[in-house]
Structures are given as C-alpha cells and as structure tokens.
C-alpha cells in the first residue's frame, strides 16, 4: 500500500533532546576510523544520530503507512551552520518536503532541522527515503 498522499508538507513533532557527549562522538568517529581527539568538532555526518531518530518517528507512525522493511535510504545531505560539538543538546524537527509516487514506489524527501537548546539551527539534514509499496 502506498503512503498517504497528504503526507507531503507535514511536520512531525521535535525529537526528544539528545545530549552530545565525548563518548557518543568518539564512538561514532571510531566506528569509521575517523581521526578524533577530545575537543574536536564532531564528524560531519554525526547529526544522522539525531536525524535518524526523526526519520524513525516518521517511518513508525501507523497513520503514514510505511512498512519499515520496505524502506531504502536513497540520498542524504547535511548542510551545517556550524560543526556539532560535545555539550550540544540537539533536537530534530522533520518535515516531509516532497512525495512522489512512481510505479508502486514512494519517493519521500525529508528535511530535518537540527537545533541546539537556544533554538539556533545547527544543521539541516535532508534525506530521501525510497519506499517500495508492494502489493
């Protein structure tokens, strides 16, 4: 079943605040062998941790109609206002920026605004999710 066409333009509630710790950044860097020393900015793709939580709430919303095992991550882009740093308290607010339905496949484009505890934009994470709607 295809997702609900009214999904386009919908903004989801902000994710719970995520505290960026030395441990979370160093573990993320270590998993890909990225050079990291305490005090360094977080790797450029680190905000996926927060953006992914926002995508999960979209994908698990029973009113949206996504079957999780049918979703493929098609595209990802990060636009940083500043690097993420240890001590940041981040929240992601996801908006479905576009929805195209082609031959049984939903192409869902999302934009997650990642803000710090002052409300300032830190990073915009744009993701394209490809959902094979199946029979």
């Amino acid at each position: 079943m295809a997702v609900d066409a009214s999904l386009a333009g919908r903004t989801f509630p902000p994710t719970p605040a995520y505290d960026v710790t030395e441990r979370s950044v160093s573990d993320f860097a270590a998993a890909t062998g990225t050079p990291y020393s305490p005090g360094d900015p977080a790797p450029a793709t680190f905000p996926i941790v927060v953006a992914f939580a926002a995508m999960q709430s979209l994908m698990k919303d029973p009113n949206v109609g996504i079957q999780l095992h049918n979703v493929v991550h098609g595209q990802q882009k990060f636009v940083h206002e500043r690097p993420v740093a240890v001590g940041d308290r981040l929240t992601a607010t996801l908006t479905v920026s576009g929805l195209r339905q082609i031959a049984g496949t939903d192409i869902i484009t999302t934009s997650s605004a990642i803000t710090d505890d002052s409300g300032a934009l830190v990073c915009t994470a744009e993701a394209t999710l490809v959902h094979k709607a199946g029979a």
Partner: protein, 122 residues
C-alpha cells in the same frame, strides 16, 4: 589547496556492528548475512551512511583538520557488500573550486555513491 591523494579504506563486519551501535541504526541487513540474503542481497551490506561517513573521514584526513565540511551529500547508488573477510572502499577527491571537493567513491572498481560532494567552510 592541498593535493588530494586517493585512499583505500578497509571495511569489516566488526566496523559495521560498531557503526550500528554508535549511529543507532540496528537494521540487521548490515550485520546478519541470513537476514541480508532473505531480502535478496548477496551478503551483509554497509550502511549507506557508513560509506558517507568514510567520505567525510577522507576529507578530514586530506585537509588535516576536522570541522571544515559545511555541506556533504550523496546518493546511495550501489550497496557496499561486506563478506566475512571484509572489503575495501576507495575514495578519490578532486578540487572543483577552492571550496568544493568532488569525490569518487568505489568498491571493487564500481561507483557506490552518486555525486558525492563536500563543500568547505569559507
């Protein structure tokens, strides 16, 4: 602008497990060969975001400092298949202008990311 040197990175199953924990993406197709095969994949595949993180690592290493990337994006065009013995990803960057690095990311000679580009802070 520093010269950019093509670099080869080993990708292991252990790294994917570590990445799954660190990123919060527990999808078993990145860890369990049986689950991967059950959905039609030849074997475990790397998270697309793992490969994009390698691209960010490459830029950090080539520039010799972290935190320079203002924008980074790509399409996930082909999965990086990671057998028990592991695999390798090759990354090569080219300066497009003084702030933009166009990347080529390949596994076994085939491109795995579409239009991977890093834009640096001014």
């Amino acid at each position: 602008m520093p010269e950019l040197t093509p670099t080869t990175y080993a990708v292991t199953r252990e790294a994917l497990v570590a990445y799954a924990e660190a990123s919060g993406d527990p999808n078993p197709i990145h860890q369990d060969p049986e689950v991967a095969r059950s959905v039609g994949l030849p074997d475990v595949i790397a998270h697309g975001m793992f490969t994009l993180a390698l691209a960010a690592r490459y830029v950090d290493e080539q520039l010799g400092e972290p935190g320079r990337i203002a924008e980074l994006g790509a399409k996930f065009t082909k999965p990086v298949v990671v057998p028990e013995s592991g695999t390798e990803v090759e990354i090569e960057g080219t300066w497009r202008d003084e702030r933009t690095i166009a990347l080529r990311v390949t596994c076994a000679g085939e491109s795995v990311l579409g239009n991977p580009v890093a834009v640096l802070r001014a």
